[in-house]
Amino acid sequence: MKALNIIETGYRATLEEQDDPGVWLAYTLKAAGADVDVLLRGNAVNYAVKDQDAGGLQYGAWRQTQPPRLAENIASLTSKGMAVFIVSEDLQERGLGGVPLIESLTPVTRNGIARLLGNYDQVWHW
């Protein structure tokens, strides 16, 4: 069984969870032996941006020592052998055309998503 995880919403609960739950789940499924890849679309394409910094949050005396490192988490997906696709037009409309992004991502156009889905037995939209 080959599954494509579509991750769309960006920055939902990432500061509290210290990662993105959809990305975490994809990583964990892969570690458990799943044949899974990821498609980043919508606001989640911003996860590929290198210069994100969520550090420094403090609530009274409590300081967050482990802020989310979303770009690193995405990079860890590719280093685990997952294909990570990213929608080109979603990057463009967010002004990410010339911004440094992590490597090893595979661009796909909006028109190319339908063909991509055909390569998978299951499509899970997180």
Binding site: G42, I113, A114, R115, L117, H125
Partner: protein, 108 residues
């Protein structure tokens, strides 16, 4: 040929991402797949006759089956005999039918 069920729970007035479902449905149909769009929850809002429903109209024009959850319609006071052209009311059971038949189902 694969079978797809796209479940659209969002409406085009509060969400600007309903175009994703519409475009995907058209692309799948163009490449020869069978696709149904199933509207549920606030996704049925554009199914009311007279509502702004550009995306539904485009889907209907492309010959794509558009079903709207009967309960969601009733819950919102949308009469099933006055729906946007191309939209048919259907029980939520259809989703289970299609899942049981092996449709690739994507919730949006």
């Amino acid at each position: 040929m694969a079978n797809y069920l796209l479940i659209e729970s969002r409406d085009p007035y509060g969400s600007n991402d309903t175009q994703f479902c519409c475009d995907l449905a058209k692309q799948l149909a163009q490449q020869g797949d069978a696709v149904t769009v199933f509207l549920v929850q606030n996704g049925v809002f554009p199914a009311r006759a007279g509502a702004r429903a550009d995306e539904l109209s485009a889907l209907a024009k492309a010959g794509i089956e558009i079903l709207a959850d009967e309960f969601s319609l009733r819950e919102r006071g949308i009469p099933t005999d006055r729906l946007t052209a191309g939209v048919k009311p259907a029980p939520l059971d259809v989703v289970i039918d299609r899942l049981a038949d092996g449709c690739k189902a994507i919730w949006h």
